[in-house]
Amino acid sequence: MKIFTASFRYFLLIASSFVLFFPIVYAFLVSFMTGPEVLSRSLIPSQLFIENYERVFRTVPLLQYITNSFVVSTAVMIGQLIVCSMAAFVFAFIPFKGRNVIFILFVSTLMIPWEAAMIPNFLTVQSFGWLNSYLSLTVPFFALAFGTFLLRQHFKTIPHELYEAAQVEGLNRFQFFYKVVIPYSKTSLVTLGIYGFLTTWNMYLWPLLVTTNDSKRTVQIGLKQLQTVEVATEWGVVMAGVVIVIIPTLLLLFIGQKQLQKGLTEGAIK
């Protein structure tokens, strides 16, 4: 009986993984297929046809796009870590009159969908002369209510004795912040870092609006472009592009999955 339920559970696990993971595996397989193979709806490539990968780089300036995405995602990640940890420090350690009002102000930003504010934001970055620059792709995303709350939750677990001890040691508040609080909260900073990098790397609508030429375009927009250029003829090439775009985030996710799950659960539920 026990063996039966266990094998039934394994069966369900394997079947669900197959259904969910199939599109990703299949994209990977198609990226090694020749044109005729794709047209005949093959499942497995007959050989490792790597020319698709070479052609991706010839069709669109993919290397440029990848560099852009890396610069933008890393910059947003660092910016968010700095801006959010500073704000979180206040909400955890510096009491003052009116702090709750500001906290509510921060909470209220969660109710504004980015898409509802995008028209004036586009006009703003346009008037700043930020179109086709890294600035428009990074700066608007540095402040993040979710990140502030996530870090605040963790900062609050720091024992108050530690704060007092630091004061006895003669550390001022800023020293306490970067010598004690930041190292103590490494885990939640990593969570926020992974989260920030993932979401920025995967951003679509905003880069579509603010980049109009190859110099600052991100990989996601490059993918759309590749698909429009190549779609009718070479799906293998398009899928090679897809694989290149998803590998960094999938790797990051696989490495940081446990961490991310723990951090996100804490941020979401508590």
């Binding site: 969910l20 794709v38 801006v83 930003t109 006009l123 993932l198 679509y204 996710l253």
Partner: protein, 303 residues
């Protein structure tokens, strides 16, 4: 919350030290929120009362006419209808699928870590990449979905070509994309449930389904509520999958609200009516988030 007793000779300047230091730390957040969230939101509401020129400058005050215009336009009505249908397709399916996977992956078993990783993998997939892959799977000639259905004797489905199916296709893509995140959060919620509850239930001889419906699901309800709200909000904000898979077609059947805003503003340069639609989107998301705070908080305390 600790209080500081400042010495007797405290002046206003000294008393305000905390405020000044706090403001310094909060400054970046407040400035950025003001420029990129609060100001644009007010500006969107303002623009929604105006006719604008192609540069987005308010040219003529028209009051509520933009709203009256869009509410009466068949295009917007259709867009709203598609959006609601889309939400109806994606939210229950997405949540139930993620719950099923989370319950399945919550047991302690060999190689369960591998399955958890596979189930959460779509969290690393971008909208663009996911949409391109599904565009391929749905394709009328090279798409493998129809050949798969053919194995079961099911006729080919005109996935992206038929108005009804196109919306369903976008919904399938969206549910697939959201599964990773929902799964991860629900699994976290499941793992937070106190083990002792199960042990005492087992001693009382409770069966699997009794434990599932009497312990797991009630204890999971705050997390469930959170995921339902997030899925709702995400559905209303879908854009990339529409842009890549159908561009709002066929016959505007997939012209979801954000795509409609995008088209009005950045293709037709109708910033006024686009802003009115953005205000409506804002109202919907605002309401959903408010409900989440009101009820979500209560349930967490209850637990």
């Amino acid at each position: 919350m600790q209080k500081y007793r400042v010495e007797k000779k405290s002046t206003l300047w000294r008393e305000s030290k905390n405020v000044r230091v706090a403001m310094l730390y909060l400054l970046p957040s407040i400035v950025l929120f003001s420029i990129f969230l609060f100001y644009p939101m007010l500006r969107t509401i303002y623009l929604s009362f105006f006719l604008t020129d192609a540069q987005g400058t308010a040219a003529l005050f028209v009051g509520l006419e933009n709203y009256i215009y869009i509410l009466q336009s068949s295009q917007f009505q259709k867009s709203m209808m598609s959006t609601f249908l889309f939400v109806l397709y994606t939210v229950p399916t997405g949540v139930i699928l993620a719950l099923f996977l989370a319950v399945l992956a919550n047991e302690k078993m060999k190689v369960i870590g591998l399955f958890r990783t596979l189930f959460s993998s779509t969290l690393g997939m971008s909208v663009a990449a996911s949409s391109v892959i599904w565009l391929f799977l749905f394709h009328p000639t090279v798409g493998i979905l129809n050949s798969f259905l053919g194995l079961f004797g099911i006729n080919s489905i005109p996935w992206l070509l038929d108005p009804t199916w196109a919306l369903i296709s976008i919904a399938i893509t969206t549910v697939w994309m959201n599964t990773g995140f929902s799964f991860l959060i629900l699994l976290g919620g499941l793992q937070n449930i106190d083990r002792h509850l199960y042990e005492s239930a087992r001693i009382d001889g409770a069966g699997y389904f009794y434990r599932l419906f009497r312990i797991t699901l009630p204890m999971l309800s705050p997390t469930m509520f959170f995921i339902i709200t997030i899925t709702f909000i995400n559905s209303f904000q879908s854009f990339g999958q529409v842009d890549i898979l159908t561009r709002g077609g066929p016959a505007e059947s997939t012209n979801l609200i954000v795509y409609s805003i995008y088209q009005d503003a950045f293709i037709n340069y109708q910033f006024g009516t686009a802003s009115a639609q953005a205000v409506i989107l804002f109202a919907i998301v605002f309401l959903l988030t408010l409900i989440q705070f009101k009820f979500g908080e209560k349930k967490v305390h209850y637990q």
